[in-house]
Symmetry: C2
Subunit: 161 residues, 2 copies
């Protein structure tokens, strides 16, 4: 069976039992979560949330890029978000690497900024700082966290100056 | 109880039952999913996937931005991804809007490109085209989909020229 057929079959089963049709567009908990694309992270399960509770933003490295800031502005001003968790994770493929190293391993990627980082907690802190520094997000409470993919545990990162 | 305490309590329960410590960093199904931040979308449940199966990318509108392309390059070249699903959804806050309208509603957002779109299926097609056009993703199979938040149903979008 092709992936397409598998997905359609799985979705038919999901839709047959679907109970989420009454959920509203704004996140019910007023929450946004910024995390990595890593498949080992299931943000709702990790945080004890339900579908509809939070906007979920994910990119490689849980980096607070301009595109993440755009999405947070949408979340804040169109969807009523009030609080954002930036959640980095252990064993990230972008931690402890450099662009030079990554480019050498990926032919044709010269000039691409992979957004690697030297230190996980510092990357999380930098993300929180970028959110706090944007006037459009000035009234959002932003906190930083590390998720341990080995244990399932979440711990807060000190982000106060 | 503060949100922080609630999250920590919920995570302690999650970690106590955690069984994902053996999952590997590369997505087991060789899959990436690009979708929106909308809280009503639970990508793994919608697609019948398990934690560890797929890299999950999410931004406002499921738009294939430069940051999404960067994340897909990481997924392809660092994590072995082979196939990408671009999944837009019904009732998106960025559909049928214009930057002018959105900026008028969000004081201080002059000059921000919210990346709104006129037509959902065309936005999905444009995203798939951007993936197919990037040489670094030339061997990735990209397909387009619409998820209906009202019914739980997923349908494919025709993306062949």
């Amino acid at each position: 069976m092709s992936l397409r057929d598998e997905v359609l079959r799985a979705n038919a089963a999901f839709a047959a039992e679907f109970g989420g049709g009454e959920l509203a567009r704004p996140p019910a908990r007023g929450l946004a979560v910024v995390t990595c694309i890593d498949g080992r992270i299931d943000p709702l399960a990790v945080l004890g949330l339900a579908p509809g509770d939070a906007n979920v933003l994910r990119n490689a490295g849980a980096r607070v890029t301009d595109d993440v800031l755009r999405s947070l502005v949408v979340s804040r001003h169109l969807l009523g978000m009030r609080e954002t968790l930036v959640v980095g994770h252990t064993d990230c493929g972008l931690e402890g690497r450099t662009n030079e190293e990554l480019r050498a391993g990926v032919p044709g990627s010269d000039g691409l900024d992979f957004l690697p980082f030297a230190d996980l907690e510092e990357s999380v802190r930098e993300g929180v700082r970028r959110i706090r520094a944007l006037p459009l997000l000035a009234d959002v409470e932003a906190t930083g966290w590390v998720y341990e993919v080995e244990t399932g545990r979440l711990r807060e990162v000190e982000t106060q100056p």
